[in-house]
């Protein structure tokens, strides 16, 4: 028996947890986009309290992973960035929640 093997020690494996979603900032973005149909950049900035740069950086990673769809347009002369969670993003967050609850289920009170 390998002493460093978490499963052998009776611990649930954590390797299947999506590290991209696990990051607190991205988890918050995913959670907000999960509960709405779509929202713009300002909405997410206000709700999450993130700076423009920080939010942009997280959104780029989520878009690259196929979790968030970013639609850029103009409303009058002002740029408008609408964001929406893709089906893969919704599934990803559900699976993440499931995985986390499985991992944490065994913790003593």
């Amino acid at each position: 028996m390998n002493a460093s093997d978490p499963e052998a020690n009776g611990l649930k494996p954590t390797t299947h947890i999506d590290r991209l979603i696990h990051e607190p900032g991205r988890l918050m973005i995913m959670a907000y986009l999960f509960v709405v149909e779509k929202a713009d950049f300002v909405f997410l900035m206000r709700q999450t309290g993130m700076t423009q740069g920080n939010l942009s950086s997280h959104l780029s990673k989520l878009e690259a992973a196929g979790y968030v769809e970013i639609e850029k347009s103009f409303k009058g002369k002002k740029p408008l960035t609408m964001l929406r969670l893709t089906d893969a993003g919704r599934t990803g967050l559900r699976e993440y929640r499931e995985s986390m609850s499985q991992v944490l289920d065994g913790l003593p009170d």
Binding site: V36, K75, L80
Partner: protein
């Protein structure tokens, strides 16, 4: 965030409620109450209608030019949309009821053996109806402050009938409007316009 419970319903509710911290509902309903008082001074129902429409325009323009640029654009989920449809249906029913009661009151016709009087019982009953309607809106809109506004409406209505003076609409309207404006100022200070609102230039 990770250490806290990921309560998605709570998150959605908090996001929804943040849109009502602008005080525009209070301003709108305060103006509606004041319009009842102003039109009674002029003795014109048409003026009342015009002022109510103007109050609605203030509400819509405030949302468009004050709230959305500061809070951003969002389309809430299906459950929230269904609740909003219930509120819209309730408001439609209220308007129909109001028109029907107005016709009954003006023509003095009897409906199912009942004719609206100015007695305390009728006043109390109608005040309760107002409270129930506002209660429904407060519940479906997840907006508890609406219940207080309902109380202002019911008190103004009951007071005006019992005291035979529409000054109660002035008092209730001024209170609601003052409170709404204070909330609006606080909202504008708390959420200044983003420097590059909705900009994707940096992405």
């Amino acid at each position: 965030m990770v250490s806290q419970q990921l309560d998605l319903k709570q998150l959605e509710r908090a996001a929804w409620r943040s849109y009502h911290t602008d005080g525009l509902w209070d301003v709108f309903l305060g103006l509606v109450l004041l319009s009842a008082w102003v039109s009674s001074l002029a003795g014109s129902d048409l003026l009342h209608l015009v002022l109510v429409v103007a109050s609605l325009a203030v509400f819509a323009l405030g949302k468009r030019f004050v709230t959305v640029p500061r809070m951003g654009l969002v389309e809430f989920g299906a459950e929230r949309k269904a609740k909003n449809r219930k509120v819209a249906a309730l408001l439609f029913f209220v308007v129909l009821l109001g028109v029907a009661l107005y016709i009954v009151a003006v023509t003095g016709i009897e409906v199912l053996g009942w004719r609206p009087g100015r007695g305390a019982l009728t006043t109390l009953g109608m005040s309760l109806v107002i409270l129930v309607i506002f209660g429904g809106i407060a519940y479906w809109l997840d907006f508890p402050r609406m219940m207080l506004l309902g109380l202002a409406f019911a008190a103004a209505f009951a007071g005006s009938r019992l005291l035979d003076s529409r000054v109660t609409f002035l008092v209730a309207g001024a209170l609601a409007l003052g409170w709404g404006l204070a909330l609006l100022v606080s909202f504008v200070r708390r959420y200044p316009l983003p420097t590059e609102a909705g900009s994707h230039e940096r992405e």
